[in-house]
């Protein structure tokens, strides 16, 4: 557990992650049981960090919230919560309400579950999760909401359907490209002949989430996020899971599809055919940028900065697919040793054999020191092998670093405040093409 301050945190608190997660599931209305400013704080964060992900159906400052004050903190907030739920059910149309607690109500120990049970007894479709901000970051909030859904909403089914899978590990808002990423991976899995529930994508429905219990496998495209939810799913519904780092580009995606096929015992010919046709299509496009790549010398040294998902995914894409040198990979999460081992293992088997230096650093202003340590600065020699030409792929906080070291810059990881994101995704084959478009567009932008 991180016990240090964090500069300009690259994450929501648990409540923020939980609110965005709940609000991203079709038909779900979050009800905050928090102090009055939590909704505003999350929203004012969201509009500067998530590629301009707006409030949506009932997020932002429309989110129902008990807004507990000093009196409630002293005498308990459950009466206020009861009143709030009662009126929310009258006023706000939701297929499922999820009560999310904040720091204050968690600390005073409001028993939300007995309040929720009263409403369930009156046929209100409602569950709850304890998501006080001090419990962790936005990723933790994501995991807690998924666990609540898995435990209290998804129906138990004894028969499993062999071709049915659930997909998660991409965190709405923390990943500005979450919709595109989920859509890209969904459509690949559909091509393998699978039925896919992915909770948050354009094609998902609450009905499908409710019936997710008969899947044969849970596929988590992250080594770090949603893992406890996967364990809950296994405990409650008996569905096993696999994890695989977010796949971006043909090398990682091919391996990902191979892993899924293996776990589900899918006919190898089917999988190979999908991989071959996707790969062919990918290179049909890459073919047309090859001229510029080679004429303009578009190979770059790179610094990659991002969370556990993006840092690995982008470093690998740059090394294995783009032929770049991701010299320094900065992972902005605070990870335990076990998680660090997973990272090292993954980074050790790049197809290209390229080795990136990994550091763990939450604070944007410290990254340049890490780079200086890794790539010694000029000591005035006439012939100096500089860290150039260079490219920084990180958050918008890395723009300063890029300017300082004379590198180009693209924002991909949170906070994403200098790009607008709607359908775009980087996962899979088509996502790799998107990333090529965006990277090279930066290089030609001044022409």
């Amino acid at each position: 557990m991180n016990n240090k301050f964090v500069e300009r945190p690259r994450s929501f608190c648990a409540l923020g992650g939980a609110m965005l997660t709940a609000g991203a599931i079709p038909g779900v209305v979050p009800i905050l049981h928090t102090a009055m400013g939590c909704g505003g704080s999350i929203y004012w964060n969201q509009v500067g960090s998530t590629g301009y992900l707006g409030a949506g159906y009932c997020g932002g400052l429309a989110v129902p919230s008990s807004n507990v004050g000093e009196k409630d903190i002293i005498f308990g907030g459950t009466d206020r919560l009861t009143e709030q739920i009662e009126n929310t059910a009258k006023l706000v149309e939701g297929d499922l309400y999820i009560v999310l607690t904040g720091c204050m109500t968690d600390i005073i120990g409001d028993d939300i579950h007995s309040v929720i049970r009263e409403f369930q007894a009156k046929d209100v479709n409602i569950i709850g999760a304890e998501t006080g901000g001090f419990k962790g970051d936005g990723y933790k909030g994501y995991d807690l909401v998924l666990q609540a859904i898995i435990t209290n909403f998804i129906e138990k089914k004894s028969e499993k359907i062999n071709s049915k899978v659930n997909l998660w590990g991409i965190v709405p808002g923390q990943d500005a490209f979450w919709r595109g990423n989920l859509n890209n991976l969904r459509s690949l899995l559909l091509k393998l002949g699978l039925e896919v529930n992915s909770f948050f994508s354009d094609s998902d429905t609450l009905e499908r989430v409710k019936n997710a219990g008969d899947a044969a496998l849970n596929i988590i495209v992250s080594e770090f996020y949603g893992i406890d939810a996967a364990k809950s799913f296994e405990d409650v519904h008996g569905v096993p899971y696999i994890t695989f780092p977010l796949p971006i580009g043909p090398s990682a995606t091919e391996e990902f599809l191979g892993r899924v096929s293996e776990a589900l015992d899918i006919n190898k010919d089917v999988t190979d055919k999908v991989i071959e046709s996707e790969n062919t299509l990918y290179y049909k496009y890459v073919d047309r940028i090859a001229d510029t790549y080679n004429d303009q010398d578009f190979q770059r040294y790179a610094v990659v900065v991002g969370d556990g998902n993006y840092s690995l995914a982008i470093a690998r894409f740059l090394a294995d697919d783009l032929g770049w040198m991701p010299e320094l990979t900065v992972i902005t999460d605070v990870f335990e040793e076990e998680q660090q081992d997973k990272i090292n293992k993954y980074l050790d088997h790049f197809n290209s054999g390229y080795k990136t230096k990994v550091v763990y650093e939450t604070d944007a202003s410290e990254i340049q020191y890490h780079l200086s340590r890794h790539w010694p600065q000029s000591s005035g020699q006439k012939f100096y092998d500089a860290f150039s030409p260079a490219f920084v792929i990180g958050s918008h906080l890395e723009r300063q670093l890029a300017i300082n070291i004379g590198a180009a810059h693209l924002t991909v990881s949170y906070p994403v405040g200098n790009r607008v994101v709607l359908t775009r995704g980087y996962a899979g084959y088509s996502g790799g093409l998107n990333l090529i478009e965006d990277i090279f567009s930066v290089l030609v932008a001044q022409r």
């Binding site: 301050f5 009055m36 400013g37 706000v92």
Partner: protein, 504 residues
Amino acid sequence: MSYVDEKVAPRREERLGTCVDFGGCACDLKKNFNGGCLKNNDRGFCQGSICQLLPGLSMLNTIPDSVVIVHGSLGCGGSGHSQSAAVRGRQILGGSTNPRGTLWLSTNLNERDVVSGGEAKLEEAIIEADRRYRPASIIVVSSCVPGIIGDDLDGVIAKIQPQVNGVILPVHCEGFKTKVMATAYDAVYHAISRNLLEEEEDEVKVIQDEFEEEAEKIRRSRQVNLMNVSSGTPGDEKELTRLLNALGLEVKIFPCFTHPDDMKYATQAALSISTCPTHDDYFLKHLNEKFGVPYLLRYMPIGIQNTNSWLREVAKFFHLEDVAERIIERETTELELSLMTIRENLKGKKAMLSAGEVRTLATAGWLQELGLEIVAVRPYHYDEFGEPALDQLIDKDSNIQVNVGTVQPYESVNIIERTRPDIYLGHNSDNVWAAKSGVPVLPIYGGPNTYVGYTGAFDFARSINRVLKNPSFNQNLRKNVRQPYFKNWYTDQPYKYIAQGGND
């Protein structure tokens, strides 16, 4: 003993009887407010809102050469991500070629800290902030968690201050402590007043020059404090400075974007001039009591009438009435000419407004002057500082509808469906709900526009005129995007969930 001698500024509920829950006509608002019957009102259905921490951070994040430490959970300072855009803009205007934007640290209080306290972590953050960034000031803002686990912010700071170079400012902004987000202004000014106003001894001149001394005296007799707000734009400051310069006054701007070392100059002015009365009273009264700086605190210079009044008050203080009248004559003549065709277009259009107290009411006043009909105003809170602007509205429309609430868009959309305004001028995070109702929107502050003075009056008019030229975007939203409320909500009274709390 003055408020500033206490560690924490009082809540506005107590200090001013401020109200945040009301719906009805303006006369009832005035009557009940003055009777003290509104401060215990409540809502039975609430939506996520804005606590005092958020405007507090909006002000503090602007202070140059400083680090904000948000003592609380990981998420509490997150609004800094969106505010960075405006701060970067100012840094670029200030000449930076590689602007940093906002800079804050979160003490990231976790489950262990909730049990065992967060003071040690705060100490570490302060020391490291001083070492790493060498700031002029380290602004420690406490959010809810330290307030409830009992961290002694002032104690930690008193202990650590001798070890660090930057001046440490404790700012108490626990969100759960007040329903009035405007308490934030007092909390911030409280910290500035207690820590940054100490006068340094007058410097001794190498060459004693009587003429120079006399010149300095005259200069100071014409030096004014112009108070800004974090929601103000560079254009706003430029416009008001222009007008005050035209009166022959020298302007220093406080507190947003003012260097911590320069805050003390606020004590040397001949006069303090507020641009948003509800924002500044705490500080201006303190400057007056402690340093004898008189102040003006009545008008927000939005629209011609308010700007005229604002300017006349300043001029009267300096006995410059004639100059002011000449400026007013010149500005308004030219402005009226430019407004002629726009006025025609806007006449009879219906408007609804929603934002901070005085800004909302004063802007509504300008729209009335422009010939628009105001279907409702939604100030985020109401206290005595809203009264002059409210009276102006009542003068033109004695039945004007006022809905006091901090955001609460469910009431907003209900009123919109009843009144179908032609334009909505709202606060950021508020506008989108009007947009989904199909109403054209103009943000009521921010961006590249000017909102105050004569330039602002014109900008409002021409921007509304522009927005009305093509309302397709929001009309399409109304057809294609759903609001989250059941249909029957729109047939209910918009103030259904506001409960009268009565007197204490």
